[in-house]
């Protein structure tokens, strides 16, 4: 972490994937103790997982401190992108600079390779309405979002994944969350990334009442939830299991982070040996953050 002065925290250019973003998450406790001004001048690129996680950091700051994080020195292209993704419309941040007139990215059909950030409320009725709306927009844009992977069934697979993961927010997290999706280019690779995150009770908190489950670390519990139909509320569940099975069919990757742990499953690299990676020594961050990615 770099502190320009006592009052300003400078964020590093570590918004490129869930792994590099860990260094930003490690600044969370310092951020909560700071005056709440964040310099974004060094950020050159932001992908969807980092964007949503930073949104959650801002929301946590607002909840704990009762004031909004102030973002300064945002590079214009980052500002344009965040604006296009509805990042600023959630009322979580204060902006000191506005985009120059005519610099906002147009919302035309060609740029619809994305789902803007949408809040999934923590209450069932509102959550269902928000989810229905997200799925309806996804269906309309799916040919553009999934252009490089398009086949007969992939849209329906993603509708199932969206449905299962968003329902976990209002059924289990005891909080509201956010969903977004985008296809973008990274080097020669095209990446489609769906991100669904909340800052609720986390996976361990959700399964607290299930004494019959046998696990030592949170990452082991995440793996159990991915591979066994367990549920925190009912006798059994299907959500994460089904998501795991679909990701395997699509040869994608799953990254799940909860509190101080994460689990990564790489179905695109099975032939190269080990494909499940556990981590349990990460900086603490509330809730559950999930990224499902395809690459081509």
């Amino acid at each position: 972490m770099i502190k320009e002065s006592k009052d300003i925290i400078i964020l590093p250019d570590r918004f490129r994937d869930p792994y590099t973003f860990e260094s930003v998450l490690s600044m969370n406790s310092s951020l909560l103790e700071s005056s709440g001004t964040v310099d974004m001048s060094r950020i050159a690129f932001i992908e969807p997982y980092s964007m949503i996680s930073f949104l959650l950091m801002g929301r946590n700051f607002l909840r704990k401190r009762g004031e909004k994080l102030k973002l300064i020195h945002i590079p214009i292209h980052i500002h344009q992108y965040l604006n296009r993704m509805d990042f600023f419309s959630k009322g979580i941040f204060i902006l000191t600079e506005t985009l120059p007139e005519g610099m906002s990215l147009k919302r035309n059909p060609i740029s619809n390779r994305l789902l803007e950030i949408t809040e999934i409320p923590g209450k069932e009725r509102q959550g269902v309405n928000a989810l229905s709306s997200v799925i309806s927009i996804f269906r309309k844009r799916s040919e553009l979002i999934l252009k490089f992977w398009m086949d007969e069934s992939i849209v329906d697979y993603f509708v199932t994944v969206l449905s299962e993961l968003c329902q976990n927010i209002f059924e289990h997290s005891l909080d509201s969350g956010f969903v977004t999706m985008q296809t973008y280019k990274s080097g020669k690779e095209n990446i489609a990334r769906l991100v669904i995150s909340d800052s609720g009770v986390g996976i361990r908190g959700s399964f607290e009442g299930k004494k019959t489950l046998n696990y030592k670390t949170t990452s082991q519990l995440i793996e159990l939830a991915l591979t066994t139909p367990i549920s925190s509320k009912r006798e059994f569940g299907y959500g994460l299991c089904q998501v795991n099975s679909i990701t395997e069919k699509l040869k994608g990757t799953i990254f799940i982070r909860s509190e101080s742990s994460s689990l990564t499953v790489l179905y695109n690299k099975i032939e190269k040996g080990k494909n499940i990676f556990h981590r349990n020594d990460l900086p603490y961050f509330e809730g559950t953050q999930i990224a499902i990615s395809l690459s081509a």
Binding site: V128, L131, I135, R139, E152, V159, S163, E235, Y238
Partner: protein, 180 residues
């Protein structure tokens, strides 16, 4: 009775081709039961999913599983029709989980052959599967015909037929067995 699920959803003010979440499953269940109450005892209720693309596990739990659970006490049979590939995958996953964790199997007859090449969805054995296929082709059969076809001894086939009847995937009328 044929229940067009798309029409049922519209009656619940749901226009989407994707039926997802528990509340939507509960609404459709209540609506379906209003119609099923008007059927004769032992009637087959065909749930026609034409134009429905995705049904998720929560919806399946609240709609299909509940209808199957109540079908014994209310005396009707459920048959699924026009199931999409995704719906079939999700139903199969729910039925397998249910059967593993509740120590009680669940299955449903279907109108057309599925991707499992069977006329049902659910964790049934090969012997059970063969009997369902035979009844589907022949519509109905006596015990002696089933004994001849399957080659299973009578003492062994009776509990199999009883189990299939309990699962509501075959019908028994007098001493004849029928496909659903």
């Amino acid at each position: 009775m044929i229940i067009l699920v798309e029409k049922l959803a519209r009656e619940c003010k749901i226009k989407s081709q994707d039926l997802i979440t528990r509340p939507i499953g509960r609404s459709l269940f209540e609506k379906a039961m209003e119609k099923i109450k008007m059927t004769d005892k032992g009637e087959t209720v065909i749930l026609d999913f034409e134009n429905i693309k995705v049904i998720d596990s929560s919806f399946i739990d609240e709609f299909i599983v509940r209808l199957i659970e109540i079908s014994s006490t209310e005396d009707f049979y459920i048959k699924l029709k026009d199931i999409s590939l995704m719906a079939e995958i999700n139903i199969d996953s729910v039925f397998h989980s249910y059967s593993n964790y509740k120590d009680k199997r669940i299955a449903a007859a279907r109108e057309e052959l599925g991707r499992n090449n069977k006329y049902y969805i659910g964790p049934l054995t090969q012997e059970e599967s063969d009997i369902i296929d035979y009844l589907k082709i022949n519509h109905h059969s006596s015990l002696s015909e089933l004994l001849r076809f399957s080659g299973i001894e009578e003492i062994k086939i009776m509990p199999i037929l009883q189990e299939l009847y309990s699962l509501r995937v075959i019908k028994k009328i007098n001493n004849e067995y029928y496909s659903v």
